[in-house]
Each structure stands twice: as C-alpha cells, then as structure tokens.
C-alpha cells in the first residue's frame, strides 16, 4: 500500500519494518518527527533523552544487548554525541545500530551549517543518503542490514528537504524478522572495553572494515549509474539528485546512495564513459575532493576565476541549500548550459512587512526579558524560544552560540574580571541538555553570575516535546518531574528562588536584590508555555480602556504581538491609543502590569465587566 509520508515519517516506518527495538533521541529540527512518528508503533521502545550523547549511549547499549537500535538528531546534535560516535565506531555492536543526522543546509532553523558526511569519514563508518521518502524508508532498512553485516554503526544522513518533503511510499503492515535476540547479555570485553590495549587492536580493524565497505560499494544496489547522453556525467546524491534530473534531464547520472566510502572503480568507469564529469552536491566538496584525490578529471569551468581551490567547489556554491534555480544559474556561469532565453519575473518591489519569529502572545518568557532590557546588564543567551529575547523591542540578549553555552559564557566574563552584573538565561530543556555541568562550574568556582532558568514546562522551540521536568515520557507514560530548585540547592548554590514567570515585579525585585552579590544566584521563572493544551484552556483576552490609555507605548515594549495601535487618537497628545487583538491575546497580564495608567483591564476586571453585562442583558 502507498502512503504519503515525509522523509522523517518514512525513516520511522522503515525502522519499524526493520524491527527496531529501541529508539532514543533528543529533539531538533529537522529530525524531531522521526521519533514522534515511531513512538506510537507497537513493539518498540522510544524515548526522549536529555541530550544527544545520552541518546546515543542509550541506543548503543541496546545494540550491545543484541537489539536493533536507532538514534536520531539534528546535525549539531552529532557534535554533542561525537565522543560516543567515535567509540562505537571502534567497537561495533551485536545488533544493527543506525544513527540519523538531519542536516539543515541554509539553516532554516539552526545556528550553523555543517555537512555531517564528514563525520562518516572522520569516524570510518558508512554513510547513506536518501533522495526522497521512499529511499528514506528503504535505506533505513538497508542501514540496519549493513550495520550487522559489517559490524559497524551506520550514519543515515538526511537534509531538511528530504525530512520535510512528503511523497508516496510503499509501506508494509508487517515487521521483518530480525537476527535472534541473545538469551543472555553478551560479555565480550575485548571487543567492548576500549582501554588502550584493546583500542590499539581495534584501530586497524576498522581501517580494514572501511576498505571492505568500499569494495561492497562497488556493487551495492545503493549506487546506481543511469546512462543517458554521454556528453555530461553527473556524480550526485541525496536531494541534489532531484535537482540534477530536473535541470539536466538528458545527462548521465551516477547516483550515490552510499556517500562514504566511495566506490572508486565505479566512479572511474563512469568518468571514462562521459565527456564531461561534474559533481553536484550541497555544502562541502566532500565527494569532489575525494574524486580529485583519485586523480579523476573533472570539468573545468569556462571562467578561470571559478577554478577549483582546495576547500572550495568549482561550480556549485559552498554555502546554503541548492534548488533548481541555483543549479541552473551556476551551470550557466560555468558554461555547462546555454544562458536562459527568458529571465523569470523579479520579486515585487512593493514594500511589504516582514514577519520575523516573535515570542507568542502570553509567552512566559516575556516578563523576564522586559525586566532585563530595563536593567541593561549583559545577558548570555542560549538556544530555545527564549533566544527571541534578542528581537526588538525586547533586545535583551547579547550572545547565543549553541545549547548549554550561555552559562559558561557569562561565567567566563565574570571570572575575567568584567565588573558588570553578568546574567545567563537558559530554558528548562536546555538546562537538562548541557546546562547542568555549566551551572556546576559556576557553583564550584563561585562566580557571581545570575542564572535564570526559564522553566516553561516543555521543550518549546522544536514543537513541544516532553522533557525530564514535565512528568510525561515520549510514549505518554507518567513519570517523575525533576525538581530543578532542589537540584540547584544540591550544587551548593545558596541564593535560589522560584518565581511566577508572569509576575513582572517578582522577577524585577529578585534580580535587583541580587545585583553585585559576591556569589552565584539562580532564579527559576516558572510558567507554562502559552501553547500547551492546559494553558490554552485558560486563554482570555484582556481589553484596554480607551478613556485611560494615553498612547505612551510602554506596553508595546513588552513586544507582544497582540498589542497594536488603534485608529483612536488621544485628545491632548495626539498619539494613537493602543488596543488588544482579542483573537491573539491570552490574558497573561504582563502588559497590564507595566501600564503606568492602569488602562489595561486585568482578568478580574474583565470578568467583572462580563458579569455586569450579563446582569444588564
């Protein structure tokens, strides 16, 4: 039966058909839906781990125990999990282990752009790269088989366009039989204990393994030479294959489903058949450089300026994702295609407003950033919805690098002797991810950093996943809620306070009382994300009393999208009065607290008004 599946859904379906037993992950766009899709399937254990390294160790543990295991993450997650990736590349496992890296060319929702095929070469493991949803499913199954056949973890590399494109996929209602599960936990310390004595034996083993995999690649059904016109030959893989077919319908194509290790002879043969050979890929010159090392002659663009330099690419751009237009214009510039006869219409010149991401109406992070902006302290941010504290008018964040970085960055400035009051802000999920060791460093070395843990009771940015603080697992089981305050106390930090995230005054008073303290302090701002089902139940729009509003715009400085200028004009000062969009307002009362004229009705006042209305009616 064919079903419309995204690449992510197809990976989940493939893993299930391959009888995966354990799947562990930390969410991250564009990978998140893989585990969300897999979680409700029968006969599989699926979990959110606090971070990617823990997720990978957990999948490795299952594979060591003889159960097929899957671990998924976004590209930067592999950086976090890299230490574990290196050891498991050395040991292999008892049952298949597949690691999914979902890369994000063009950084649709990421802090950097990286090409994780490099990790396959770095760790000596095979890398498969599907070009659409059907292949995503098929290659997931193939990856488990390869993993067992060659005793190696397999990297399945996806990109945003594959993850989030839906296409018809042939699905089966049954699970395949898989290798027998051992009766007893296998004990094999020579293989699984990487003390130097064993590790030294393993290194040559994995070098040999990658050569065997290269032999396999020569005849693997994953690599396909499609011979059409011999004028132009294109070596390509993944989503770039689709652009190759769209832009060069007549060209011969060598489509590599396995992008590492490369099939040298297959490529040589293909190269010798075609007149001109090019490599069409996104991001790093990963294939291009290896072809040059093989001594294969690639097409030299007309324009000498574009000629190859190490680390660059000769025809297609190094940065950002490709699409048919980028491919076509690059090919035209390189003399591979005649210049197009018609130029497509240019974008409209009419100025239309941007729609940048903003903290939602009713967001629990708003009151804290409103205060921080007023205090003008340097604030080290971190990754999550709360990174939007950088967007005007809040403009309260000054650094933001990767998950868990903020606390360390604030600490570094403080111990360097900078005398301003340094603050770090971090979300609950990010705190569990990599914030804990960083805060322990602040505690241990006693810098006077104020850390604000913004506990909105969910992993917000990636679409609301459960985490160790929420009391629910990925498979919707009830569980413990990690007590953040107790944990901070246990680190020996004495100044710890939990406040209502929506209380502008509580946040402000606490921060002011801690200014220039000579020791660490931690503020936990607790308040549910406005989009959670429970919070939605309580939404109730507020109203601005136009007889009291003076159009001072102080409420607008909270950056709430539900506040807007009305057509009403203040009699005396001529300023536009502010109004609240009832379709958007949740009634969080943050704007009402900052209004100097008490013009914004609090919930109680709105309710009182409503009941009077009802009496009158």
């Amino acid at each position: 039966m064919k079903r419309l599946l995204s690449g992510n859904e197809a990976v989940a379906q493939g893993a299930w058909e391959a009888s995966v037993k354990v799947a562990s992950a930390y969410p991250g766009t564009p990978s998140t839906e893989i585990l969300e899709t897999l979680a409700p399937y029968p006969n599989v254990y699926a979990e959110w781990a606090p971070n990617e390294k823990v997720a990978l160790d957990s999948a490795i543990g299952a594979a060591y125990a003889g159960r097929r295991a899957l671990c998924t993450m976004k590209h930067v997650g592999v950086n976090v999990a890299a230490d574990s990736l290196f050891y498991v590349a050395m040991t292999g496992s008892e049952a298949g282990l597949v690691i999914v890296s979902a890369d994000d060319p063009s950084m649709h929702s990421s802090q950097n752009e990286q090409d994780n095929r490099q990790f396959a070469r770095f760790t000596r493991i095979p890398c498969l790269e599907p070009a659409d949803s059907q292949e995503a499913k098929d290659m997931t199954i193939a990856a488990f088989e390869l993993s067992e056949q060659f005793d190696t973890p397999v990297l399945l590399r996806l990109t945003t366009r594959v993850c989030h494109t839906s296409a018809p996929v042939e699905v089966f209602p049954d699970q395949k039989t898989h290798p027998p599960i051992p009766d007893k936990y296998p004990r094999n310390p020579n293989k699984y204990v990487m003390i130097p004595a064993n590790a030294r034996i393993h290194h040559p083993i994995i070098e040999k393994r990658i050569r065997k995999l290269a032999d396999y690649a020569e005849s693997s059904p994953l690599n396909i030479a499609e011979i059409r016109s011999l004028e132009l030959g294109i070596v390509t893989s993944g989503i770039a294959y689709q652009y190759a077919r769209e832009v060069f319908p007549d060209a011969s194509v060598l489509k590599l489903g396995m992008v590492y290790p490369l099939p040298e002879k297959l490529i040589q043969d293909f190269a010798s058949e075609v007149k001109n050979l090019i490599v069409l890929k996104e991001l790093d010159p990963f294939i291009e450089e290896q072809l040059r090392l093989m001594g294969i002659k690639l097409y030299v663009p007309k324009d000498a300026e574009k000629a190859y330099r190490p680390g660059s690419k000769s025809i297609f751009p190094l940065c950002g994702e490709l699409n048919p237009v980028v491919v076509r214009t690059s090919a035209e510039a390189a003399g591979l295609l005649p210049p197009a006869l018609t130029t497509p219409s240019a974008p409209s010149q009419l100025k239309i407003p941007n729609r940048p991401p903003m903290l939602c109406p009713g967001c629990p992070h708003r009151a804290t950033f409103y205060n921080l902006r007023k205090m003008k302290w340097p604030v080290a941010g971190d990754i999550g919805c709360y990174a939007l504290g950088v967007v005007p008018p809040l403009s309260a964040i000054h650094t933001c690098g990767c998950m868990g970085a903020g606390i360390g960055v604030a600490h570094g400035a403080a111990v360097a002797g900078d005398t301003e009051q340094h603050v770090a802000v971090i979300g609950d999920s990010t705190f569990f991810h990599t914030g804990i060791p960083a805060l322990m460093n602040v505690a241990y070395n006693q810098s006077n950093v104020i850390t604000i843990i913004m506990d909105n009771r969910i992993t917000g940015m990636t679409g609301h996943q459960q985490n160790p603080g929420t009391g629910k697992t990925l498979q919707q089981k009830d569980t413990i809620e990690v007590n953040i305050e107790a944990m901070v106390h246990a680190m020996g930090i004495q100044e710890v306070k939990t406040v209502n995230a929506f209380s502008v005054k509580e946040v402000s008073d606490t921060l002011k009382s801690w200014k220039d303290l000579d020791k660490p302090a931690v503020l936990i701002t607790k308040g549910e994300c406005a989009l959670l089902p429970n919070a939605r139940k309580g939404w109730m729009p507020l109203r601005i009393d136009s007889t009291k509003c003076i159009g001072c715009d102080i409420c607008i400085r909270t950056g709430c999208p539900a506040l807007r200028k009305s057509d009403l004009i203040h009699e005396k000062n001529g300023r536009h009065l502010t109004e609240i969009d009832p379709q958007q307002c949740t009634g969080c009362e943050v704007c009402a607290q900052v209004c100097p004229q008490n013009a914004i009705l609090f919930r109680e006042q709105v309710l009182a008004e409503l009941s009077i209305d009802q009496e009158v009616n």
């Binding site: 419309l4 766009t29 839906s166 769209e246 219409s345 240019a346 009419l350 950056g559």
Partner: protein, 205 residues
C-alpha cells in the same frame, strides 16, 4: 474571472504554491492537494519548512503533481497556482507564478508586529491590487473569512480557498471532498463541506 482561461481537462503536471501566515491552515490545504494528486494517479511531492513553534510567521508549502516529480521545490516562475491566504503574502510570492498562472488571493490582512511597533508599514489595498495586476491577469480575490464565518468557523477560510481552486479542474466535488474528509477531524466535517461548497460557488464556469 472565468475558468475557461484555466487548465486543460487532463493536466500533465501542476505546481501549487501555498502561502500564508502561521495558523491559517496552509499546511492542511496542501496535505489535501497532495493526497488528491495521489488519488488522481499522479506522482506527488509536498514540501514545507517547519520552523519554530511560535505563531505569526510566514508559512509556505508547495505541492507538485506530475508523472514523475523530481525537485520538491518549484522553481520561481513555474507555479501554475499561487494560493495566498493573506494578501501581503501574495505580493511576497507573486514572482513564483508562471506568466499564465492563476492567483487565488484571500482578501484578508494580518498585520505583523513590525507594523504595530511602527517599524514598517502595511501597504494599502489599492497598492497590493496594482502590484499583483502587474504580474498576472488571472487573479481571483476571495472573501475567505466572510465565507468561512458563514460556513460556521472563521478558521475554515483555507477550505473556502480549496473550494474555489477546485473549479479550475474538471474533477467532481466528491473527489475533493472524499480526500478532505480524511484530513479534517470528524466533528468539523460539516463546516468544512459548507466552506468548500461556498468557495466553489464563488467561481463561475
């Protein structure tokens, strides 16, 4: 506008670009188009960018039908239909439309914070109209919100738009509705059928 300028009875390949603002249901509409394409026997690709979970950003989705679809994204200038759920979003993506392409635009403005805060301005309706007219003669303005409210839920303007779109194809209503029914929650089916028919009735043959 009449549908005679529109597509042939049995199109070989169709590219739909859907553009709107988070929460308007552009993704649901594109799911319906993708499933419909499969039901009609096409190869189909549907591409979207899932970004951050906040409300209010631009959202686009693309659906391609053909005997074999390669690229999931439609090259600029090759969309047969641009379905804009918000009028300034129509301007943002109008250059993606083929010169002979058809624009269905919801006569509805969603004003972003950049405008409220005074940093940017929202263009006048006449400016938008004039700008769009410069790109194509095939423009259908749709009172999506009005019709959706009449159907019983303002949120169903995405389905009003689908109803209008359906008139540009010769497939019977039921072909569309049977796909739609699988994609919306059971308790909203009646409203959605009404919204679909309302959209369909906006377009003359």
């Amino acid at each position: 506008m009449s549908t005679t300028t529109a597509l042939s009875q049995n199109p070989k390949a169709v590219n739909f670009l859907l553009a709107g603002v988070g929460g308007q249901g552009a993704i649901l509409a594109s799911n319906v188009l993708a499933e419909l394409g499969i039901a009609l026997g096409f190869d189909v690709k549907q591409a979207e960018i899932h970004g951050m979970s906040q409300r209010g950003g631009s959202v686009t989705s693309q659906v391609r039908w053909s005997d074999h679809v390669y690229s999931p994204t439609i090259p600029p200038g090759e969309a047969d239909f641009l379905i804009a759920f918000e009028k300034s979003e129509a301007v943002r993506f109008i250059h993606h439309l083929k010169p002979s392409g058809i624009l269905l635009v919801n006569n509805h403005a969603i004003v972003p914070v950049t405008v409220t805060s005074g940093a940017e301005a929202y263009p006048l309706h006449e400016e938008i109209q004039q700008e769009l007219n410069g790109y194509t003669n095939n423009i259908v303005w749709i009172e999506g919100v009005v019709e959706a409210r009449k159907a019983g839920n303002v949120k169903s303007s995405n389905v009003v738009m689908l109803g209008a779109l359906s008139k540009f194809f010769k497939y019977p209503s039921n072909t569309w509705l049977s796909v739609l029914e699988q994609r919306v929650p059971a308790r909203y089916i009646d409203i959605n059928i009404k919204a679909f028919e309302a959209g369909r009735n906006l377009i003359q043959n």
